[in-house]
Structures are given as structure tokens and as C-alpha cells.
């Protein structure tokens, strides 16, 4: 087994195989890591309602097996849940993986003891929005929903009576529903930065729907998959070229959609930028939630943005926001958490991305993709030999 290898795998346990998505490989692999002592803890996405899952730390393999993934889960800020150095495995959408790597750079997470099991992601949805969308667009009672999936550009909800209800995602997003805005313009669908990238894209033929496509990205990726195979929890077969090509094609199609969303949402500001930003931030109630959830913020309580900023300031803009703008120019991964938690409904991710995109493009630096430090200091000084 080598870095770069691709497989299609599934859980050997029948219960996990049928219950989990795409053959239950990820669930079985995480449970095996815990059972065999490869890790002390696993982060699972505990479903606390049909539309919401929250990350929970557990050392109980049974709890890992019982948990099912959910497309409504929020990005994981690992350092909020775990002590530094804990041997842990976590399932991670690309933004989860990127946030974990950014935290590792800042000494919040030990990357050597963290096994990131990446999951393909085409976007997530906010639970409150999902309920409203079901009511307005699908004319369904949210309580009647039993499952959901995305197929051929359509978002399909299955109701308890077994009926399927499909609407085109484009149509939903045109009406302001569908995926989170930040997901719509996200370019990272396959978690190439994770130790191992898993998903159902590229699983074809008889295995379609019953297997998970796996790409090994690092030594740790080899370790965690080998551990699962050796303990008999999963079986794999080598992926064929056609599968790989289909996976790349799906990714490419998603990229195109994201590019269109970029045009739509991040089009240049017309008129005064200052008025635009002052207006966007005028209802800020100084709660600090955007910083608390920010996966690339590692300053904690004594942060510059909060320590030197006060509700007592008589400024036209808050220093808190201005410091965060600079801070996020090189490190914002666009996970969308800040927008999600903003009590004044400010599209913060959107604003941060406006500052970050041009700078990240200029330095050709994409945060969270590997352990390379941000351009703010390291990169340039090293390159120029200073």
C-alpha cells in the first residue's frame, strides 16, 4: 500500500455495511482505529435531530458504530473539543480537514497524533434553512422526512411514506435556499489534504452504493486503513481507472458550479467599499461568536482583536473587525461558521473572503492544504533567503 493508491472498500460487518453510507467503510475504519488502540478517541457526528449533527468525542467503539454521518454537520474546530496531543481520528469534510491543519500550524492540534479521514463534500445545509426550504419549496412537513440524497444535481428528500421528492439544486439556490453560501463558492470537494480521502464518487458497477472510494494521501492514511484491514473490519479492492476518471469528472463538474457561484456572490463591490463594509457591519452586537467558532483563530481569550477592542469604543468601525480582516487575509478557509453563528445575520464569511481571496491568489497560497506556514512571514523570508 502506497501514498496515491486508490481503492474501493466496505465494512465487513453487515450491520455497519447496510446502515452506514456507501458500505460503511469510514465508520468501520474509525471504530477499528479505536478498538485496536491506534487512537484514544474518535470524533463522531452525533445526530441530535433529523437535520443536525454535532461533533462529539468518544472512546466507545459502539458509539462510533451507532453514529451516522449527516450532511448538516458543521465544520469541526477540533481544538475546542480535545486536549493537545490526544491520539484521535476524525471524519472530516474538506473544510474540517483544512481547519484541523490550520490549527496544527498554530500549535492547537498535534498533526502527528491526528488521523484525518476525509469525506467528499458537495456542500452542507443549515438546519433552520432546511426546515424552511422543506416548508416553502417542497411543501413537506420537516417531521416527515426520513432521508435525503443528492443525485444528478437534484436534492431529493425521502418521506416516511417512502415517496421521493426532488428539486434541482440550482432552482433551490436561485430562491435563496439550498447549500450554505460559503459551500456554494467553495472549490474544495475532495479532501486531498486529509490523510485519506473517502467518498462515493467513482464507485461504479456492482459496487455502486455499496462501496467507498478511498485515496491514500499520507503515511497516516496507510496506517489507519491497514489497521482496519488487518483487524478484519473492512475489505478493499483496487479502484479501476474508469472509477478514478468518473471521480475526477464529478469533481470537475462541482468546480464549474463553484466558479459560477463565485461570479455571483463575490462580484466586485459597486460604489464605496467603505460604505459597503460599514453598512454590512452596522448591526454587529459585539458578541464575539464569529471569533469563537473560527477554526483559524488560535489566540484564545487574550486575542489582539478582543483585548484592544471594546464595546466602549467610539469608532466608525470596530477594531475587532479590522484586525480580523487582516488576520483572515492569509488564513480564511471559507468554512462558513462565522456566518452561521452571527446573531445579526451578517454574512461574515462573504466579507472575509472578499479580503482573503485576492491575497491568497496573489501568493498562490491556499490555507489548510498542508503544513506550509502562511505567506505573512515564513514563505517569503525563506524564499528570499533572509
Amino acid at each position: 500500500m502506497e501514498i496515491g493508491d486508490c481503492y474501493v472498500g466496505w465494512a465487513t460487518d453487515e450491520d455497519i455495511r447496510t446502515r452506514g453510507a456507501s458500505g460503511g467503510l469510514v465508520t468501520a475504519m474509525l471504530a477499528a482505529a479505536l478498538e485496536k488502540g491506534l487512537v484514544e478517541a474518535v470524533v463522531v457526528l452525533k445526530k441530535l435531530g433529523e437535520f443536525e449533527a454535532v461533533p462529539v468525542v468518544t472512546s466507545d467503539p459502539e458509539e462510533v458504530k451507532a453514529a451516522a454521518g449527516s450532511m448538516h454537520s458543521v465544520p469541526i474546530v477540533l481544538s475546542r473539543y480535545l486536549e493537545y496531543g490526544t491520539k484521535v481520528a476524525l471524519p472530516a469534510k474538506p473544510c474540517d480537514a483544512r481547519s484541523t491543519i490550520e490549527q496544527a500550524k498554530r500549535g492547537q492540534v498535534d498533526i502527528d497524533t491526528t488521523y484525518i479521514v476525509g469525506l467528499n463534500c458537495g456542500g452542507t445545509m443549515h438546519p433552520a434553512m432546511t426546515r424552511k426550504m422543506l416548508d416553502v419549496m417542497y411543501k413537506l412537513d420537516p417531521e416527515d422526512i426520513e432521508g435525503e440524497e443528492i443525485d444528478k444535481g437534484k436534492l431529493i428528500f425521502e418521506t416516511k411514506d417512502g415517496e421521493e421528492h426532488a428539486i434541482k439544486i440550482d432552482e433551490l439556490e436561485e430562491e435563496g435556499y439550498g447549500r450554505r453560501e460559503s459551500c456554494q463558492y467553495c472549490f474544495t470537494n475532495i479532501p486531498v489534504m486529509a490523510d485519506i480521502a473517502c467518498g462515493n464518487w467513482g464507485v461504479i458497477g456492482d459496487l455502486a452504493g455499496k462501496g467507498t472510494f478511498v485515496e491514500i494521501n499520507t503515511e497516516k492514511g496507510i496506517e489507519i486503513l491497514r489497521n482496519a484491514i488487518d483487524s478484519g473490519a473492512v475489505e478493499v479492492t483496487e479502484a479501476d481507472e474508469k472509477g478514478k476518471a468518473i471521480r475526477a469528472k464529478v469533481d470537475g463538474a462541482m468546480m464549474k458550479v463553484a466558479a459560477a457561484a463565485n461570479e455571483k456572490y463575490l462580484a466586485p463591490i459597486e460604489g464605496s467599499h467603505l460604505d459597503y463594509y460599514m453598512n454590512a457591519l452596522k448591526d454587529c452586537i459585539n458578541c464575539g461568536a464569529c471569533k469563537t467558532v473560527c477554526p483559524v483563530c488560535a489566540c484564545g481569550e487574550g486575542a489582539k482583536c478582543t483585548e484592544y477592542s471594546s464595546a466602549a469604543d467610539t469608532y466608525k468601525m470596530s477594531l475587532f473587525h479590522l484586525v480580523r480582516f487582516v488576520h483572515l487575509m492569509d488564513s480564511c478557509i471559507g468554512c462558513g461558521q462565522c456566518t452561521d453563528v452571527c446573531p445579526a445575520d451578517i454574512s461574515l464569511t462573504h466579507i472575509y473572503q472578499r479580503f482573503a481571496r485576492p491575497m491568497q491568489d496573489e501568493f498562490e497560497y491556499k490555507p489548510g492544504m498542508d503544513m506550509t506556514t502562511p505567506p505573512f512571514f515564513g514563505v517569503d523570508l525563506l524564499e528570499e533567503g533572509h
Partner: protein
């Protein structure tokens, strides 16, 4: 290494935002955002965000010495005799409040919720004063009149009002400070509310009702709502103030001021406070401390360490709010259930009247019956009867002072917490008239004393010094002061 996740609500105010509390094996807690919550879609204000940092658990004490929980319960049981006075303003679940009502009943007493306005306003108005309108209805209103500052007092209303504006609503604010989301900020004489505001049945009035609210003001607003057909919503500073009001029998309740007066004249000797810190809630802190010192028995049943737990004779420290089994009713009248299953607090109150453990189920059934529902469902608001009421004669007394320190009253204020509220606000004219300098604290002087405090220049009414933090030199929600450098 395991975590327990509690689904609960933020105890900061009567909006009762849904949230998760994550508790680790070692007992440390952190909050998390419950995005599926119907009230707030997971969003929290600063109070909620900083809950784990700001809230301290209480410890059981008797005569200042730390004791076991059960010993404190026994001591409290002995000390609470006939003639005791009970207060619960609504900082805990309906179940605990109902348990306290049972205890009070067994001592031929009632539980006071501290909202003085209720006892001076006809009872047919009480349902309207209690339950407001659904938060969704605010979003669909055509016109909104704010007698509160949503940014400071009820921050989670901000997004609702902004949504309403997107839907075409106009917003008028009548208050001490101009709020930026309002289309117009006005100062109106209460006598002219009706003519100046021009409301109709598509309008929503949002005001506040707290223990210090002048009943005449409430009556004026009720009159306004009645005359115009507008819906009215009284926000309250306590998470379960509405639930406690509904649970309480409509007996003659005393206002907090009356209770303090009766302590001072020696009528009240024993006071039992359930999650109600009078030192924090009442504006004149020194007067309250003095009065509490005259009691034979001050018994505090609470989950939270606060000013009153330091002076109480007996402290019965119950489990933190998020762990409690039970329900709260928020300002919309929505019943919200905690996922916690602990009944320690209820059982402790039961034990004080010799009841065996296990009162919860019976009490919870009583609550469901009162609300007329079979089970608590956060997505369905129970139906409430709001009887018609007649117009009332009311002349709110205008505070005729030249310069006044006024309490704005947000969650940090009502919980006695200093966070980012350690400053006062005044307008530029007042700053220049008193030659205040940037970076140098302003001196605020009343008859009672003086403080030097940071100030901020804001668009507040002339003569007003607005504070969201309790200051030691105040005598009421409005105190006459002078400002100097």
C-alpha cells in the same frame, strides 16, 4: 474520554435561545450552537457565547460554612416556617417554581414572582402582559415600535427586526438611545403615543416588563395596543419569567419594593429566594443589602453563585440550569424542554416539606395541564386566551431630572456580571459641556456617592447617562446625577 451534550436554553433572558452545553468527564463545560433551535437558529448573543466563562456554580452553605447539599436542605427545611416569604422571578424551570409553590402552600404562603406591575393592573390584562407574539410574527409585521433597545437588551430580536425590515416593515424606536436599525428614533410624550405612532393591527409593539417597571407605563402601552389593535410583546429579563407567571396562581403578589419595605419594618423575618438574587435585580444595591441583613433567615436555593449567596444564612446549591429536568416558557409563550434529567433541586424543595423524592412527574403533569398540551414541542406554541380589557387611566410619572443615570438593562446587567458593559454612554453635547477628556474616566456623582467610569459617546437622549452595568451609587432605574471630569 466522553462528553455529555445537554440540549438546553440560554438563561440570559426571556427569548430563551436554544443551545448545547457540552460537559466533559472532568466537569468542565463549553457551549455549542444548536442550529436546529426554532427560537434562534443556533445564534447567541455575547451572554450566551460567554456563558461557560461567566457562570459559577454555587456551593451549599449554612452560616457561612460549606456543608453537604443534604445538610443544607435539612437546615433550610427547619428554618422555613409559617410566615416565610417566597420569591422566584423565573430564573429556573417551571418544575422548580411549581415545587416552591407547593412548599409555600404548605406554609400558607404564596410565591412572589417579583413583577410588581401585575398586582396593580387588572387581572384581565395579565395574559397580554405575560405572553407576547411569536418571533415569526415580528418578521411579518408591517410596523414595529420599539420601547426597548434590542441591541443591548434583547440582542436576538435584532435579526428578527432586520428580517421584518427586509419584508418591508418600518421600525420606530422610542427610547433613551437611538438605535441604528430604526427608520426613525423618536421621543414622544406618553400622552401622544396614539396620535404620533399611527399603529394598526399589522403593528407590533415591543416593550419590557421587569420588576422595576412602573405599572402606569405598562398601562399606557396596553391602552395603546388596545386602541390601535396592535399586537404587544413584553420582553422580560428572566428566562422563565413567563412560565413562572403562568404557573403562579393569581393571588395577591407583592412587588420587590414592598418585600424590602416589609423586611425593614420587621413583618418579614424569613425570606426564601429561588434563583432570585435581589441584590442583582434591584437597582438600589445598598438598600437591598441593608434590608437582607435584618432578616432572621435568608434562605437561597440557587444553581448559581452570585452576590446573594455570599450573604445568605443558608445556601442550597442545586444543579446547574442546563442539567435540570424541566420546561421553561419564553416570551412568545413557547414551551422549551431541557434534555437534562436531574431533579435534585425539585427533590430538595420536596424534602423541605417532608415529601419523598420523585415529585417531578406529578409537577410536570400539572404544568402540561396548565398549558393545555400533551407534551412539550418547541415547534408548536400552546394557545393562550387573551381576554379583552378596558382602557385604563394611567399617567406615568415623568422623571423630571436634569441629568440622570439610566439603566439600560441587558442580560449582563440582570445577572450582575461585568463583561464588556463596564462603561456609560452619553451624547457629545454632554461630553463637551462637562469638559470630559478622551481616555479619562467620567465622574458620575449622585446623593449616594460617586464613581469614575469609562464613557462612550453615543446618540443618547440629552441629559441621559446610560449604563448597562450596576453602579453602587444609584437609587433606582433612573437616578439623578451630575457628571464631571
Amino acid at each position: 474520554m466522553n462528553e455529555t451534550i445537554f440540549t438546553t436554553v440560554c438563561p440570559g433572558c426571556s427569548i430563551a435561545c436554544g443551545m448545547y452545553v457540552r460537559e466533559k468527564d472532568d466537569g468542565t463545560i463549553d457551549i455549542d450552537w444548536r442550529k436546529d433551535a426554532v427560537v434562534n437558529a443556533g445564534k447567541l448573543c455575547r451572554f450566551g457565547v460567554r456563558l461557560s466563562a461567566n457562570l459559577k456554580n454555587a456551593t451549599s452553605r449554612v452560616d457561612g460554612n460549606e456543608v453537604e447539599f443534604s445538610d443544607a436542605v435539612t437546615a433550610a427545611g427547619k428554618a422555613i416556617g409559617d410566615g416565610a416569604t417566597f420569591i422566584s422571578v423565573g430564573n429556573t424551570t417551571c418544575a422548580e417554581h411549581l415545587a416552591l409553590m407547593k412548599l409555600a402552600e404548605s406554609k400558607s404562603a404564596i410565591v412572589n414572582t417579583g413583577m410588581g406591575a401585575f398586582s396593580s393592573i387588572p387581572s384581565e390584562c395579565h395574559p397580554t402582559m405575560g405572553v407576547g407574539v411569536p418571533l415569526d410574527a415580528i418578521e411579518n409585521a408591517k410596523k414595529i415600535v420599539l420601547f426597548i433597545d434590542p441591541y443591548e437588551q434583547y440582542p436576538l430580536l435584532v435579526r428578527r427586526i432586520l428580517a421584518a425590515k427586509k419584508n418591508g416593515a418600518t421600525v420606530t424606536a422610542v427610547g433613551w438611545k437611538a438605535v441604528s436599525l430604526a427608520d426613525e428614533n423618536k421621543t414622544i410624550d406618553p400622552a401622544n403615543y396614539e396620535s404620533d405612532l399611527d399603529l394598526d393591527s399589522d403593528s407590533v409593539i415591543i416593550a419590557e416588563l421587569n420588576p422595576s417597571t412602573d405599572p402606569a407605563r405598562v398601562m399606557v402601552l396596553l391602552n395603546l395596543a388596545k386602541a390601535s389593535g396592535a399586537a404587544i410583546m413584553f420582553m422580560k429579563p428572566f428566562v422563565n419569567a413567563v412560565g413562572c407567571d403562568i404557573a403562579s396562581k393569581k393571588t395577591d403578589q407583592k412587588s420587590l419594593d414592598q418585600i424590602i419595605a416589609e423586611i425593614n419594618d420587621g413583618t418579614i423575618k424569613t425570606l426564601v429566594c429561588l434563583d432570585s438574587d435581589l441584590i442583582e435585580i434591584m437597582p438600589d444595591e445598598t438598600a437591598v443589602r441593608e434590608a437582607l441583613g435584618k432578616l432572621d433567615n435568608l434562605i437561597v436555593i440557587t444553581s448559581r453563585a452570585s452576590a446573594i449567596t455570599d450573604v445568605a444564612k443558608i445556601v442550597v446549591a442545586t444543579e446547574p440550569f442546563y442539567k435540570k429536568a424541566g420546561t421553561v416558557v419564553n416570551a412568545e409563550g413557547r414551551a422549551l424542554h431541557n434534555s437534562g434529567e436531574s431533579t435534585d433541586g425539585i427533590d430538595a424543595i420536596g424534602a423541605m416539606m417532608g415529601q419523598p423524592v420523585g415529585m417531578y412527574d406529578e409537577i410536570h403533569a400539572t404544568l402540561l395541564a396548565t398549558l393545555g398540551i400533551d407534551e412539550v414541542d418547541e415547534r408548536v406554541i400552546p394557545t393562550y386566551e387573551k381576554p379583552e380589557y378596558g382602557a385604563m387611566d394611567a399617567n406615568p410619572t415623568a422623571e423630571a431630572v436634569e441629568t440622570a443615570l439610566v439603566y439600560a438593562g441587558g442580560p449582563f446587567f440582570w445577572n450582575g456580571i461585568v463583561d464588556d458593559n463596564d462603561f456609560v454612554e452619553m451624547n457629545l453635547d454632554m461630553v463637551t459641556a462637562n469638559s470630559l477628556l478622551k481616555g479619562i474616566p467620567a465622574k458620575i456623582t449622585s446623593d449616594k456617592g460617586e464613581v469614575a467610569i469609562k464613557y462612550k459617546v453615543s446618540d443618547v437622549a440629552p441629559g441621559v447617562v446610560l449604563s448597562n452595568m450596576k453602579l453602587p451609587m444609584t437609587t433606582g432605574m433612573v437616578t439623578s446625577v451630575t457628571v464631571s471630569r
